[in-house]
Amino acid sequence: MTDQPKLTCHQVSRILSDGLDAELPEDERARLRKHMAICDACRQFEQQMALMRRALRGLGAGKDDEE
C-alpha cells in the first residue's frame, strides 16, 4: 500500500477552509488528522477560523442599549 504524500500547511489551510462549507472526503480527513496531530500552527489556524465564524455570526446581534 502506497502512502499518500503528506499535506503541507498551505494545503491544510485550504482544506480547513473547505471543511467549513462541506464534509471533506474520508481520505482527506485522514490526511488532515495526521497533519493536525503534529502541527501546532495549523491547530491554531483552525481555532482562528472557528473564532472568526462565531464572531461573524454574532455581527449585528449586539445587545440593546437598555439591556
Binding site: 477552509s17 462549507d21 500552527a41 489556524f45 482562528q48 464572531a55 461573524l56 455581527l59 449586539g62
Partner: protein
C-alpha cells in the same frame, strides 16, 4: 422607550448590514424599512425572548436573502484585487508549504467577543474585502446560506466558490491578526 423608538435607534446598524450585503443604498433602505414595518405590524411576535436587535437582524437577514434571489446576478470582475490576495496568501507560506509566521494563539475567544471594539475592527476588516469576495463571504458567514445556494445565486462553480471563500477567510484572518490580536499580546 416604546417599540417604535427602540427600532428607530436600530435603524443605523440595520442599514449598515443591509448595505454591506446588497451594495445598493436604495435596496438597503427598502429592506430595512420592510423589516421595521414587519416588526411594528406584529408587535406581539416580538415577545422579548431575545434582544430587539437580534430579532430585527434575523428578519433583516431573510429579507436580504429574498432580494438576492430576486435580483439578476451581477458579474463583478476584480482580477487584480483577487490576484493580489492570492499573491498575499502565497507569501504566507514558504516554498515547502510551511507557514512563514506560524499562527499564534488568539487567546480566549470570549475575551474578544465581549468587546465592542473587536466587532468594530471585524467590520472594518470585512469592509476591506473586494466587493465580490465580501458578498460571497457574508452570504456564507452572516446570512448562513448553503454553499450550493450561493453558487446557484451567483452562477459560479462550487470550486470557484471554495476559492473565493478561502481567499476571504485568509484575508480576514490576516487583517484581524495585524490589527487586533497582535496588539493584544
Amino acid at each position: 422607550m416604546n417599540l417604535e423608538q427602540q427600532l428607530a435607534q436600530l435603524r443605523g446598524p440595520l442599514l449598515r448590514y443591509a448595505k454591506l450585503q446588497l451594495r445598493s443604498d436604495a435596496l438597503a433602505e427598502d429592506v430595512v424599512s420592510e423589516t421595521m414595518l414587519a416588526i411594528l405590524e406584529k408587535p406581539d411576535a416580538y415577545a422579548g425572548a431575545s434582544s430587539l436587535r437580534t430579532y430585527a437582524t434575523g428578519i433583516l437577514k431573510h429579507k436580504v436573502i429574498d432580494v438576492l434571489r430576486r435580483r439578476s446576478r451581477e458579474l463583478l470582475i476584480e482580477p487584480l484585487d483577487e490576484q493580489s490576495i492570492d499573491d498575499a496568501i502565497d507569501a504566507l507560506f514558504k516554498a515547502d508549504g510551511h507557514w512563514v509566521d506560524p499562527p499564534q494563539s488568539w487567546g480566549a475567544p470570549e475575551a474578544a467577543l465581549e468587546q465592542r471594539e473587536f466587532f468594530e475592527m471585524l467590520q472594518r476588516c470585512v469592509d476591506r474585502l473586494p466587493a465580490r469576495l465580501g458578498r460571497i463571504f457574508m452570504m456564507r458567514e452572516w446570512l448562513e446560506m448553503d454553499v450550493n445556494q450561493i453558487c446557484d445565486e451567483l452562477n459560479v462553480t462550487a470550486n470557484n466558490c471554495g476559492v473565493m471563500l478561502y481567499r476571504a477567510r485568509m484575508q480576514l484572518r490576516e487583517c484581524l491578526e495585524r490589527n487586533w490580536f497582535q496588539e493584544q499580546r
